[in-house]
């Protein structure tokens, strides 16, 4: 039954409502739908309010510092508020996270939607989704006490030994720094990539696969030549959404990245990200400009997340028009 015929029915019911009890219920209907519409408007107001309040609260920084924020030096005690080193940290850690979690998440999604027997796909899907449910502060705790020591004693020395000729892997293995932050983030966004990509693959028509297999391809060739190209946009959308999550993550990163406003080529060095500087400095910030500047970083994060989400959702929707709900 379509929406239109449903409306027609309600229209007819509404037309018959003229007197007595029915007039009262007509009145009640209007109040009721008014309440529903009002609730929907609250969503619009909240998002616009977010933007307005953040702009207003960061106004002192936007006017006094302005484009001087696009510099490197962050030293609030000397009135120097350059945020570029944070942007650098955010970009580097997110790229590491995406480089690790992207291919792996796609592989997991292929396994869950195409390869695994049904009995196995269900439970494994659930485990992957539970990985997304682990609170970020728990990831941070685990990252600080388990991942960071492992990185310091095993991973970083090995990388330094074999790939030390690259500037990326030079310097002392500290354990905390951009590489550890990126690796921790990759674990956190892996379920995002896997769950959305799985739903995108599920939307690929079965004829794609049957046609490819009928041409004599192997199962893997079927996946890489018929399924993946068909789902390409949706998979990119999943990656962009995961990137957005990585860029906005604060608590896990703040515990393992070292919190130093620095730009360095070596991934072993400590740094800062936009979200982690908020988590680390906000409550200790003194002075109007300092606080306003931090709020401006919050505003930047908000704007960034909107851009990322608009792009990602447009891509995901183009593949599965019903919308993918596994975010």
């Amino acid at each position: 039954m379509s929406q239109d015929s449903a409306d027609l029915v309600s229209f007819r019911v509404a037309r018959r409502v003229e007197t007595g009890e029915r007039a009262r219920s007509h009145f009640a209907d209007r109040i009721f739908s008014g309440l529903l519409l009002g609730s929907a408007w609250i969503i619009l107001i909240v998002v616009c309010g977010l933007l307005a309040v953040l702009v207003k609260a960061s106004w002192p920084a936007l006017t006094t510092i302005g484009f001087k924020a696009a510099t490197l030096a962050w030293s609030p005690s000397d009135d120097r508020y350059g945020v570029l080193s944070f942007a650098f940290g955010t970009v580097v850690t997110s790229i590491i996270a995406l480089a690790l979690a992207g291919p792996m998440g796609i592989a997991v999604a292929l396994f869950l939607s195409e390869l695994a027997p049904k009995r196995l796909a269900g439970p494994v899907s659930m485990l992957v989704e539970l990985l997304a449910a682990v609170p970020s502060v728990v990831y941070g705790l685990w990252g600080l006490f388990v991942l960071a020591p492992v990185m310091r004693t095993v991973v970083q020395p090995a990388l330094g030994k074999w790939l030390g000729f690259l500037p990326l892997f030079q310097g002392p293995p500290l354990g905390i720094g951009m590489l550890t932050g990126g690796v921790l983030l990759s674990i956190m966004i892996l379920p995002t990539v896997a769950a959305i990509a799985r739903d995108v693959f599920a939307a690929v028509p079965i004829e794609q696969r049957e046609g490819m297999l009928a041409l004599g391809s192997t199962r893997w060739e079927m996946l890489t030549k018929a399924v993946l190209p068909y789902a390409r946009q949706g998979v990119i959308g999943a990656l962009v959404l995961a990137l957005g999550r990585a860029m906005g993550e604060a608590m896990a990163v703040v515990m393992v990245i070292g919190n130093t406003p620095a730009v360095s080529a070596s991934l072993f060095r400590p740094a800062y990200t936009m979200a982690s500087v908020l988590a680390n400095e906000f409550t200790e910030a003194t002075g109007q400009t300092y606080v306003a500047m931090l709020i401006e970083i919050g505003l930047l994060l908000f704007g960034m997340s909107i851009v990322v989400n608009v792009i990602a959702r447009a891509l995901v929707w183009s593949v599965s028009p019903k919308g993918t709900r596994a975010v």
């Binding site: 739908s33 977010l50 609170p135 728990v138 908020l278 906000f282 908000f302 990602a312």
Partner: protein, 279 residues
């Protein structure tokens, strides 16, 4: 070896690689959960749930105030977000055509992707700055905003799945539309709506970033809405980065409690959804 054999071998190999990736993902979860379990179990004495933190060096004490504080903040956020979210979701499902509905859908999806710390900054600027005080209310504002889009979209989806014929049957009997919605459509969609609410609560129960500069934390018992309040994720963060062994131990205990709570909520959400198909 023939060309076909090579292709088949390559295919089998890559399928194994994909399976291994899925195995690693599941293994990561097991590693993290088991590690938290082994580290945190030692901290869970009865006093952990009944007492407030003690100063460094004095054994005993617990995080009862933080558990209570978390419950209070989340309850307050739910009181606001659940009715608004479900009402907006019902609106989108039943009347959701046109520009307003499209923007609500779009913006609630965007809101899901906004970093929680940015929403915390918003609650700080909106509530804490004017009041000049960290407060439980400001934390609830932040968490409520995070819950909203999750509830809206799951409610919309659940209500959409209700067959139109049921609602039309009610309307044909002369029942006013609001009664048909509340007494016929919504009850049928209730498992889906419950799932959404539980998932939203699970999501905010673990949030710590938006609480840093709204709830702020409090080492004492505190339930006042206009005062700084303790919260479990905050205590985990503050104790984890402290240099003291017994505080770090408490952080692991808190992490265990938090993970257990969040997983229980997630499982409950699944069970609620399954009951829909069982009937």
């Amino acid at each position: 070896m023939s060309r076909l054999a090579v292709r088949n071998a390559w295919s089998a190999f890559m399928i194994c690689v994909a399976a291994a990736c899925a195995g690693i993902a599941a293994l990561l979860l097991a590693i993290i959960v088991l590690y938290v379990l082994s580290k945190g179990a030692g901290a869970l004495r009865p006093t952990f749930f009944t007492q407030i933190p003690r100063p460094v060096g004095i054994p005993g004490g617990g995080v009862a105030n933080a558990i209570l504080g978390s419950a209070e903040i989340i309850a307050l956020a739910s009181i606001a977000a659940v009715p608004i979210g479900t009402a907006a979701g019902v609106y989108l499902a039943l009347f959701g055509r046109g520009r307003v509905a499209a923007s609500v859908r779009f913006l609630s999806d965007v809101l899901t992707g906004v970093p929680s710390i940015a929403i915390g900054v918003f609650a700080y600027a909106l509530v804490v700055l004017p009041a000049r005080q960290f407060s439980a209310v400001s934390a609830s504002v932040a968490l409520g905003i995070i819950m909203l889009p999750i509830i809206v979209r799951t409610t919309e989806e659940a209500v959409r799945l209700v067959p139109h014929t049921i609602r039309e049957g009610a309307l044909a009997l002369g029942i006013p539309a609001w009664k048909a919605t509340l007494l016929v459509t919504v009850p049928v969609a209730r498992p889906g709506i419950t799932t959404g609410v539980l998932l939203a609560i699970a999501r905010v129960a673990g949030e710590s970033a938006p609480l840093l500069f709204t709830a702020f934390g409090n080492p004492q018992w505190s339930v006042g809405l206009t005062h700084p309040i303790a919260a479990l994720p905050l205590v985990i963060f503050q104790y984890a980065i402290s240099p003291y062994k017994d505080w770090q131990q408490t952080a692991w205990g808190g992490a265990l409690v938090l993970i257990a709570l969040v997983f229980a909520l997630n499982l409950a959400a699944r069970v609620a959804l399954r009951s829909r198909f069982a009937r």
